[in-house]
């Protein structure tokens, strides 16, 4: 039996990135509205209703789908913006919405039963019973898996569930279970779950001390660089800290996830779709990554070994990892 090809789900932070991704061979793009309803609520990114309508036209004309991420957790007493986002996605004809909050899933399933629902990684559904909860209560058709499972565990999980799974294969990686991390809000007051931004630029500053450059998030030093070191962005969990008497990147090095070489294993594990992270990235980045993965997916589908990818220069810190998908990472 030939398995259908893995579906390639690609980031569209802007209308230009959407067009680049579609042109480069994306099967789907995912995007968000320009507010706190999505988990990449950064300045200069995202879509208004008109841009979404145009993006839908562009993608649909080229046989690509558009998924709308509404994947933060609505504020108590202020569900309006989240409900409006779901209503707009439905009215404009989005192919699916990607949701995390149980109240919002309930609203969507009730108000827009025909609007396809995906479960966001931000819900961190990591086991068959959690997935069953979302499928049975809200008719979720696909689950984006949190980055806590190895490929072997994903294979075992897929045997126990009747719903599509999507996994992250490239880009920035959360090392904590997604949607269950308050590190950023502890340091900055800005919460990925509530405000849609982790380690926000508004709270980043650099201090040049002559012999070293210090990067800070809020009041906390996240890293310090010697003059010969490249200074990275102070994402909290990729910082250098002192624990047990030594300095280290305790949570994770500044690195990007890259599973280009593991597509056959993911396919064998029963995964339906591959997700590329990076809605904050420009269209050149998106085009390069999507093209490389398009080739790899097509090769894997034809039974060939995917060609090596030359994406190292597009990775954070120029480092790559297969992350949690291999057990040794833990």
């Amino acid at each position: 039996m030939t398995l259908p090809p893995l579906e390639l789900v690609c980031p569209a932070g802007t209308p230009a990135a959407l067009r680049s991704a579609v042109d480069a061979g994306a099967d789907c793009v995912y995007l968000g509205f320009r507010d706190e309803t999505n988990a990449r609520n950064f300045p200069g990114l995202n879509f208004n209703d008109k841009e979404l309508a145009q993006g839908l036209d562009y993608a649909h004309a080229r046989n690509a789908k558009v998924l709308v991420a509404i994947n933060t957790f609505p504020e108590a007493g202020n569900s309006g913006p989240w409900h409006r986002a779901v209503d707009s996605a439905a009215a404009l004809g989005a192919d699916a919405v990607i949701l995390a909050d149980i109240g919002l899933l309930d609203y969507t399933a009730t108000k827009h039963p025909d609007l396809r629902r995906h479960l966001s990684v931000q819900a961190a559904a990591s086991n068959p019973e959690a997935i069953r909860f979302y499928v049975e209560n809200f008719g979720v058709k696909r689950v984006v898996l949190p980055r806590v499972l190895t490929i072997l565990e994903i294979a075992a999980l897929n045997k126990q569930i009747q719903v599509e799974t999507e996994v992250f294969v490239f880009g920035g990686l959360c090392v904590m279970a997604e949607g269950r991390c308050a590190l950023s809000s502890y340091a900055t007051g800005v919460s990925p779950n509530k405000n849609g931004a982790c380690s926000p630029a508004s709270h980043v500053h650099y201090e040049d001390e002559g012999d070293r450059l210090v990067s800070k998030l809020g009041d906390y030093t996240i890293n310090a660089f010697q003059p010969n070191e490249a200074a990275g962005y102070p994402t909290l969990c990729k910082g250098r800290f002192v624990a047990a008497g030594k300095e280290s990147y305790l949570f994770e090095e500044p690195t990007s996830l890259s599973l280009g070489s593991m597509l056959p294993e993911l396919q064998a594990a029963g995964v339906t779709a591959l997700k590329i992270e990076g809605r904050q990235r420009g269209r050149a980045y998106v085009a390069a990554v999507v093209q490389a993965f398009r080739k790899a997916v097509d090769a894997a589908h034809a039974g060939h070994t995917p060609p090596p990818m030359d994406l190292g220069n597009l990775s954070e810190g120029q480092q790559q990892t297969t992350g949690v998908y291999e057990k040794t990472w833990r």
Partner: protein, 299 residues
């Protein structure tokens, strides 16, 4: 006014079994808490350690008139972990607290608690869990006073708020305790047991920042809402959770009880906690919709 209740949360850290047992025995005998949550929340590898004594601990607590609630794992990744939780939820004689949505599914239709590791940010989600059978919900760490007051307004389930202890900020598949000691998770040698309050993590500039507890990351600061109790009670929140640290938790519970019963003023209660803190620094920033690590002087 409804009498306010205190819950002792589950010990989040890897304490030696004798210390763990004696801690609960003392809490049973001396601490003015109404409910005691216990059970492993962080790492399933630790479970076998206290299994031999858990029945004795439950008996002692119930004998002292405490309601015992079984807490469950926050992150469930394997069949083995799923089976552990399935067994716990199958018990009919004790209330169970779900810390993962999976566990709430298994508890559907019978009265249960939702723990602080499940994302309840708004009334829609709260209503859904109420419909599912939740009768008590301990809210997540990062909710502000204004959110708490909205949730308290139409709450079906009894709401509980974390009022003392290091804040559980994140959970991961990766064990940072093992990683800090150059060990693998599978062969971790249980190094997390070296740090009964968590392993302190500092910035490169020597500022205390976080505390690592195996796969869990907590705040360095100790959440302390003793001066906000009266305000929360006005909102209709009457249940407060004290999360165990390796300090005199009987004294901590007495301070909270005395403030709730107006035998001590909030300021006096805060002074008592300061003396008991053993060097822990306090924070209450989330309550004021600020950085969680901040300490704001109460009005």
């Amino acid at each position: 006014m409804t009498k306010a209740k205190l819950t002792l949360g589950p010990v989040l850290f890897n304490w030696p079994v004798e210390k763990w047992r004696d801690f609960y025995f003392r809490m049973a005998d001396e601490a003015p808490v109404d409910c005691v949550n216990l059970g492993e929340v962080v790492c399933s590898k630790r479970l076998p350690f206290f299994e031999p004594v858990i029945a004795d601990v439950i008996e002692r607590l119930q004998g002292a008139g405490k309601e015992v609630v079984l807490s469950t794992l926050a992150l469930i990744m394997s069949k083995r972990e799923m089976d552990i939780v399935r067994d716990i939820t199958a018990m009919d004689d004790l209330r169970v607290e779900a810390n993962d949505v999976s566990t709430a599914t298994l508890l559907a239709g019978k009265p249960h608690s939702i723990g602080p590791f499940i994302n309840v940010y708004n009334e829609g989600t709260l209503a859904f869990f109420a419909k599912n059978g939740a009768t008590r919900v301990c809210l997540p760490v990062e909710l502000s006073a204004s959110t708490l007051s909205v949730l308290a307004k139409d709450a079906g389930p009894e709401l509980e708020v974390l009022a003392f202890g290091r804040l559980p900020l994140a959970v991961s598949a990766r064990c940072y305790h093992a990683r800090a000691h150059d060990l693998s998770k599978d062969n971790c040698q249980f190094v997390c047991a070296e740090d009964p309050d968590g392993m302190e993590l500092e910035t490169l500039d020597g500022d205390a920042f976080l505390a690592v507890n195996g796969t869990q990351t907590l705040s360095y600061t100790c959440n302390n809402l003793i001066e906000e109790l009266a305000q929360m009670r006005k909102m209709g929140i009457n249940h407060f959770r004290l999360s165990p640290q390796d300090i005199d938790m009987v004294g901590v519970a007495r301070a909270f009880r005395d403030v709730l019963d107006r035998n001590l003023s909030a300021v006096e209660g805060a002074d008592v906690l300061e003396q008991l803190s053993g060097g822990l620094e306090f924070s209450n920033g989330y309550y004021y919709d600020l950085e969680g690590g901040r300490m704001v002087a109460a009005e």
